[in-house]
């Protein structure tokens, strides 16, 4: 899957997350009455707080609220209500009135209201039927320059939007501008976002490189200029990607693109090094995909079985139900070592611990093959019972009930046959209702 096909824009769920964050920042506000006049509804006892836990609403009245703030609060409530009910036209109608909020002179909530405004307007633009690209560009440009704290974030979101709509060049331009932004202490404090921006810019370079490669391979006429261009994009991208991949993190799309480019230019050593670092560096968070990528790469490049097995070893620990475990088990089956065979049995059984593989014929067949090879040894029964010891309690319920029998015989007779042949071997001392040739449920 191409990286840019993944939905990178901020979705509605994140909008609610933002709402929650803002509530936490605003703090729990007491349920006070609107007290514009000092001698108003002020009893000598004092206002009583409710004993029940109150929801902290985002639009809460505060003491001494001016008419302007009251209007803005009412406007925000209307917008919020309209958005929650998906009345996008109505929400868009309130937005010109809410834009007055950007002129507010009170400093305490300035940053929050700007962020709120930005997120609300992009959400409305996403859903409104008449929204155009110019509107997005307009809003993003305005909101970018309204404050320094969120300049980089908005740049990133803007470029994501352009990326998702196919304007790769524009997206790249946005990110280049953002990369070169400096604002004293502020840009220094946001260096993590800058890193992210650099990473995505390199990704965009990669995408452009892919396009160029594609067009390049289509045409027979090789233009030297195009080639040069392609290489320059590769260089730009690789410089940054190499830097980025040194930082701990989950960089799946970036590493894939980097490796693809390296493969094209046949720099196998570098590619291998990068993949190994990504998979085995302890400072990086544990990431099964890293091992998958490494394995796939090795497989593409004809490595020895031993190396392949090594690559899958950690993956087995991380994700025992991974589909590559089938391949792992076949590798182990093919090897000569006795311990590998036992390992293979363990791998397959662990796979079948998960309900997703329950109905898969290939897995059961593999299990059967392993058992068959195992039966050549004398102590196979001990091996099997040892592996099945922990499973005896719950495997029958997972695989070998009467219901499974009827279901399998209707849907997948081959599976039924394979499973039936294994029941006695796996669970010798239990009488199971699962047997070959049983078509009906009722006895």
């Amino acid at each position: 899957m191409r990286p840019f096909e993944k939905k990178a824009a901020i979705s509605a769920e994140s909008l609610w997350l933002i709402m929650d964050d803002l509530e936490k920042e605003l703090g729990p506000l007491d349920d006070l009455e609107d007290d514009n006049d000092s001698s108003d509804d002020h009893s000598s006892i004092g206002t009583k707080k409710s004993k029940l836990p109150l929801v902290n609403p985002i639009c809460e009245e505060t003491l001494k609220e001016t008419g302007f703030h009251q209007s803005m609060r009412a406007c925000l409530e209307q917008i919020r209500d309209a958005m929650l009910h998906h009345r996008w036209q109505e929400a868009a109608e309130y937005m010109p009135c809410y834009s007055q909020m950007l002129e507010d002179t009170s400093h305490s909530t300035a940053q929050q209201s700007k962020e709120l405004f930005w997120r609300i307007s992009t959400e409305i633009l996403h859903h409104h039927p008449n929204s155009r690209l110019e509107d997005y560009n307009n809003i993003y440009e305005r909101m970018k320059h309204s404050g320094v704290k969120h300049y980089l974030m908005i740049c990133l979101e803007h470029s994501f939007y352009l990326m998702l709509n196919g304007h790769i060049e524009d997206a790249k331009h946005q990110l280049s501008v953002a990369e070169s932004w400096r604002h004293g202490k502020e840009s220094a404090a946001q260096y993590q976002r800058t890193k992210l921006i650099q990473a995505y810019r390199s990704l965009l370079d990669y995408i452009i490189w892919c396009d160029k490669k594609f067009t390049h391979s289509k045409t027979d006429y090789h233009d030297a200029g195009d080639n040069q261009d392609m290489h320059s994009y590769f260089r730009q991208a690789s410089v940054n990607l190499k830097e980025i991949l040194k930082n701990p993190g989950v960089w799946d799309p970036f590493i894939l693109s980097y490796v693809e480019m390296l493969e094209f230019y046949e720099d196998h050593d570098e590619a291998l090094k990068v993949l190994n670092d990504y998979a085995y560096d302890n400072t990086f968070p544990p990431n099964p995909n890293a091992h998958v990528y490494l394995y796939q790469y090795l497989k593409r490049h004809n490595t020895t079985d031993k190396k392949l097995m090594k690559a899958l070893k950690v993956l087995h620990v991380l994700v025992p139900s991974h589909e590559l475990m089938l391949e792992y088990s076949s590798l182990l089956l093919q090897s000569e070592k006795k311990s590998d065979l036992q390992k293979a049995l363990g791998v397959i059984l662990e796979m079948l611990d998960f309900a997703c593989w329950r109905g898969n014929v290939d897995v059961w067949k593999r299990l059967k093959a392993i058992i068959q090879k195992l039966q050549l040894q004398e102590d196979w029964k001990d091996v099997v019972s040892e592996k099945m010891a922990a499973r005896k309690d719950w495997w029958p319920a997972l695989h070998f009930t009467r219901f499974h029998a009827s279901q399998d015989s209707e849907e997948n007779p081959e599976l039924k046959e394979v499973k039936a042949s294994l029941t006695k071997i796996l669970c010798p001392d239990l009488t199971l209702k699962y047997s070959a040739g049983q078509k009906t449920i009722v006895d």
Partner: protein
Amino acid sequence: MDDEHTAGYREPCAQCAAVDWGVSDEGRFYCRSCHNVIERTREVVDPNFTPGSTRISTISRGSRTKRPERGRQWMICEGFQFILRNQADALLRLGVSPNFKDDVLCQLWRLYLQKSRQAFTHNPVTSSKFKVRGLDSDSDSAAESSVVSASETNPSSAAGSNAESSSEWSLCSGSVDAAGYLSARLRRTRGLMSMTKTLALIHLALIWSAEALTLSDLLRLVNEGHVPYVNAYEDLPDEMKLEGKDALIFRVEDVPSHQRVHKEAETLLLFLQLPAFPPISRQSLLHPSLLSLRYLMDANLPDELHLWVCRLVERTSMADETLHVSDRLLRPVLPRYDVQTAALIIVTMKLLFGLDDHTEWDLSNQTGDQDDTGELFNLRRWYRLLQAALIRAQQRRVHDIARKQWKAKKPLYGNKSEKCTMIKKKRIAEQVQVCFERLSSCPAGVDRVDPSSFRFCWGNEDGADGPSLHQKKLDGVMTLKLGVLTPLNSAYWHPALKACKPRSCSSHYSEVEPTLPRTFVWLLQLFGFLLDVKPAYLYEEVLKVERRAIDGKTHQRKKRRTRPKTQAKARARTQRGRENKRETFN
């Protein structure tokens, strides 16, 4: 350093702490030692345009700030005079008689200026020495020094003794005495003008000229934009430039509440030491007898109710015309005609219908059973109509509040640094607004409606809030006793009273409200909506009316809540004034 571009900017660079600024091609400031680009840009200097002035006041040194346009020196009270005039003109356009502006408001204003020693006096509050500018002094420093020289106890017979403006054109902007105006000492004497006071002054003038505009009407006109208030300073003449501290005085983001304006008006009354107000005659539309007719119509109550309201007015001796005379010796009391009348109506309904969550519905059921023709007034039907209309009207009001435009086209800046940020914010806000207006094809702001005295419209036309109940008869709640029409309901309830400190407590409504009957609370909310006041405010007035009705004496300001929990039962009185009142103490 590029002096001519970066003159005056002395901030050290954030990265290298050097003070060595240059301007790049795009106009951005950058640090010459570390090439750090900052957000600051060089402002464009407009070519100066002086209309018809042959006098050279200064030769400026080519500073990087925009040269201020020429304006004249002016005082704060001049500004307020213009604003008051605009407000009065707006009222005249709405139908108030010209007598209000020419004879009453002008006189009041002049009296105010005299009392507050801002004009028409030998002993002015602030004196500003209008200095002639030197050739090479900066305009800003000149303005500041003239303000600094303003001293409160230094009489200058020439400068401050007339409210006329000096027509000297110079490079000054902003009013001359803004700083003095905001000084603590002057504020403490509470003599000085504020935007709220303009409304208070107009309210006094309206009462004096016995115009039918109540305070809640006036505030409604202000809220709807028919009378300038928010951003009223935009209509000041161009040569009066507003800057700096003027913003603190003239910039408002709030329309004051009924209570606040009323308090200001009372303070003003005391301050101005006015002679007795002309009495409010029974024919005047401010008198409770006629004002109640208007509110009854608005609330879709039957016309027959008016008779009973008038009787209550008699009973509480509020029909007395001399009541509205202000007493100079004691603290003057300005009657709140609108709130009082609404309270009278509520008490009348309480007398007739009980409003204790039982009696009125029983009566309503009876009426429903008896009535075949549909001629009788049925409270339940009335309540349903009103509740639906009220909910719709409240939603409309919330909608209007949400869409109200507060920010001015020509914003007012507190100081120079605020100016830059505000200009930038305004630009961003305007562009965003244009974008969304295009997207939704709906311009910002509220649709202007024509002003009306009524909130609701009852009848059978299109757009009416519901059918009219004005012609219905009250026979369902009346009976003939000894040949006299008497209400069927003979009980009257009163909320529990308890001792409280008269000074610190103002309203106990929030405590009492859960114990009050729901119909009564709803009625308070209805009239609170009609008048745009808080139900608590109305509730206090209802208590006052009740006290007057029970005591039969003139209302005294000092609250005496000394009775323990009582429940007073009073029979409604008859036309002949027989006092059948009987109070039982439980």
